[in-house]
């Protein structure tokens, strides 16, 4: 009896040892865990939902094709309703579950998480294109997969300087938040550094406003010739209607978060002639990069026209992250945050098939795109005027 007990104990120790050895290394067929937070039902849910669909769509598409060299991407996601606390909570949860990369969303949560991601060494991409996130010396694990808001502003100013004779008076209408204010000071600095003959003033667009007549009156007194809008589509559409209603002879230029299908639908006739600085092409543009998401959506019984340009924005943001992970896997390295960061910094010319300008990062810059396209609303469609313009 005593001997049986000893054999049993030895057997158990052996079994435990074997189990321990088996669990130590990561198997090459294990899924690669990526965390994500989306705003589906919060204040930015209107653009957050197609973006989230794009990220998830790309992962489903890639997994259906066999994943990354046979390894599936396990995307852990949740709607965080644009709440910073919830974002932090979900981030901590996903990190404890072993994620190696993270797809964020808003400016507030991206800012709030930036110290944590640096300490945890988790590469992070979000839809916040603040220039403050592009310097690896300050934020080594943040990657901005688009033209920064400040560059979009510089591009808009450059376009105005090249396409308007006389002294332009610029009124920047912006969302009253860090997102809205992000490019304002950089725009003023750009005018000064380039010695442009422009007037420049900014006007905060109060949230929940039913009209912007008061702000427009001030802009009129300024002698406004151009209005640059750094806001999301619905307030921008309201502004466009007010501009038309007041009969103002100004050119309106939307930066990326208001230059979308939602703006055109909401503004109606008032959208005609409005210009846009778009890092991500309108889905009506006939670029080869639209083929894959379009076919994937077709297989789901949907169309890219219904989803809009934010879908491809999410799709290709995730595609860049997946490419970096693939590069790590192909190199035979362990898929870890630092390895993905290095791989991202080696991506220099990621081709999105015309959906955006080529995307690339370096060890000294995490600014994914240097330029953006210039578009104009013609017959209710964002139509490309210039395919690439750099500041």
């Amino acid at each position: 009896m005593k001997r049986t007990a000893i054999y049993l104990a030895l057997g158990m120790v052996l079994a435990l040892l074997v189990a321990a050895c088996g669990g130590g290394g990561s198997s090459s067929s294990e899924p690669i865990k990526v965390g994500a937070i989306f705003d589906l039902t919060g204040p930015t849910g209107d653009v957050g939902t197609p973006y989230a669909d794009g990220v998830r769509g790309y992962v489903d598409w890639l997994n259906a094709k066999g994943g990354i060299d046979g390894r599936q991407i396990d995307l852990k996601w949740q709607d965080y309703q644009y709440k910073v606390d919830t974002a932090e909570q979900l981030y901590s949860q996903y990190v404890s579950e072993g994620i190696v990369a993270f797809m964020g969303w808003g400016t507030g949560d991206t800012e709030a998480l930036r110290t944590r991601i640096t300490e945890d060494k988790i590469p992070f991409m979000s839809a916040s294109y603040s220039e403050a996130l592009t310097n690896p010396a300050d934020t080594p694990y943040n990657f901005v997969v688009a033209t920064s808001y400040s560059d979009q502003m510089r591009i808009a100013l450059k376009w105005i300087s090249e396409n308007y004779s006389g002294r332009a008076e610029i009124a920047v209408f912006h969302h009253d938040s860090p997102f809205g204010l992000s490019p304002v000071a950089d725009g003023a600095a750009y005018i000064q550094s380039k010695g442009l003959d422009m007037g420049y003033a900014d006007y905060a667009m109060p949230g929940g406003a039913t009209d912007y007549l008061a702000e427009l009156t001030k802009a009129k007194a300024q002698g406004v010739t151009h209005i640059i809008v750094q806001n999301v589509s619905s307030p921008a559409a309201l502004l466009a209607r007010d501009v038309k209603g007041q009969g103002l002879d100004v050119t309106m230029i939307c930066l990326n978060w208001c230059a979308d299908e939602g703006f055109v639908n909401l503004a109606g006739d008032a959208a005609e002639g409005v210009m846009g600085v778009l890092p991500w092409a309108s889905v009506q543009s006939d670029d080869p990069g639209f083929k894959a998401p379009s076919e994937f959506l077709k297989s789901q019984g949907k169309t890219l026209t219904d989803e809009g340009l934010h879908y491809t924005q999410g799709w290709y943001t995730m595609a860049v992250m997946a490419q970096a992970i693939k590069n790590v896997v192909d190199a035979g390295d362990d898929v870890t945050g630092p390895a993905i960061k290095s791989a991202l910094e080696s991506i220099s010319n990621f081709d999105t098939g015309g959906v955006s300008v080529p995307i690339g990062f370096s060890k000294t810059s995490h600014k994914g795109m240097a330029g953006a396209g210039i578009y104009k609303v013609e017959n209710g469609v964002w139509t490309r005027v210039i395919s690439e313009m750099t500041p």
């Binding site: 909570q89 901590s92 949860q93 579950e97 507030g108 800012e111 709030a112 938040s177 860090p178």
Partner: protein, 347 residues
């Protein structure tokens, strides 16, 4: 079996814990708090740390609303004052973290007293709106006073340093936050054994009667605002140091409402209740989220509706508490305790 509490000395009367059962419960709690960080994952430690910080803030709000009867919708603003004061002193003026946090407590208390000035004349809904205005004004100042707060850019706060090492791990933060929660709890419990605390309660129960018996109502209302804000300032300063980033989006009106919900669910006018409420309001959403994640693959349609369900559950819980137990979790706990103390008798 103890049939009653018979004190023979005044010191026994003054003790915070009076029966053996009290001491046993406290020991069990201390053992639990001592063991938890060694077995909990980093995720759960994060949640516990957030509960701790929320508990300090909720104790502060409970001093004002639960004990003095002055409703406040400006909690988010006071948290912001604490966070930005600590953040600016630590990051810009390079003050040591403990000093920065201590200064934040004092500054928030001062700001609280100033914002509490309308409370001298107002109460009820009118005061609620006045404090709501304070919330809006504070956040406006934070967002636009670029030179001091950094405005739109968030403020990066250096990690505290001890023994030449930066304090980063959730494990160490757990002990720091726990120590401060204990300190805040003891301070609040003792506050209501002093004349000051009793004046607060007298004002809450009937301000005219309090005035008649010699309580200078306006003075003690301001004291209540100051002390309450001091606690909230501590919570804000801890948040700044623990998260090492201060962004105004963390201190919105939603936060003020969440804190009010914490003290309603936990128990108005109960220090322990504030802690229960902070735990409830932090842990339950996390649990709902985790439940949501586990059903994501099985019931994708339901998981899409999760945030709505979460909000609905929250609303329902608050309504149910208001109807069935307005004195919150603290009162439920008291009833359970009394049941076992008196068993097998009903009372």
């Amino acid at each position: 079996m103890a049939t009653g509490i018979y004190h023979t000395k005044y010191s026994q009367d003054l003790a915070l814990r009076q029966t053996k059962a009290d001491w046993i419960r406290l020991s069990v709690l201390l053992v639990f708090l001592g063991v938890v960080p060694f077995v909990a994952s980093s995720y759960w430690l994060t949640i516990l740390n957030m509960v701790g910080i929320a508990a300090i803030g909720a104790i502060g709000l409970n001093i004002l609303t639960g004990f003095t009867g002055l409703i406040s919708l400006g909690q988010g603003g006071f948290l912001a004052v604490g966070a930005y004061t600590a953040g600016i002193l630590i990051a810009r003026l390079h003050w040591p973290t403990p000093l920065g946090i201590a200064a934040a407590v004092l500054v928030t208390a001062a700001v609280g007293a100033v914002i509490g000035l309308p409370a001298v004349r107002l109460k009820g809904l009118y005061l609620a709106i006045a404090t709501l205005a304070a919330q809006v004004i504070i956040i406006y100042v934070v967002r636009t006073w670029d030179v001091v707060t950094g405005g739109v850019e968030s403020l990066v706060v250096p990690r505290p340093v001890a023994f030449k090492t930066e304090i980063r791990s959730e494990f160490i933060w757990y002990w720091i936050i726990l120590a401060l929660v204990v300190l805040a709890t003891l301070a609040a419990l003792n506050l209501f054994r002093t004349g000051l605390g009793r004046s607060f309660v007298a004002i809450r129960d009937q301000d005219i009667a309090a005035d008649v018996i010699g309580v200078t109502v306006w003075k003690y209302k301001l004291w209540s605002f100051a002390i309450s804000s001091g606690f909230v300032g501590l919570a804000g300063a801890l948040l700044a140091s623990y998260r090492s980033i201060v962004t105004w989006e963390r201190f919105t009106f939603d936060v003020s409402i969440t804190y009010l919900a914490m003290i309603i669910v936990g128990g108005l006018g109960s220090v322990a209740g504030a802690i229960y409420g902070a735990g409830f309001m932090t842990v339950v959403p996390a649990l709902i989220q985790r439940a949501g994640q586990s059903i994501q693959g099985v019931l994708p349609a339901l998981s899409q509706q999760l945030p709505a369900i979460q909000l609905g559950v929250f609303g329902l819980v608050i309504i149910l508490f208001l109807i069935f137990e307005p004195r919150g979790l603290a009162r439920i706990w008291e009833r359970i305790r009394d049941y076992f103390r008196l068993w097998p008798f009903r009372y």
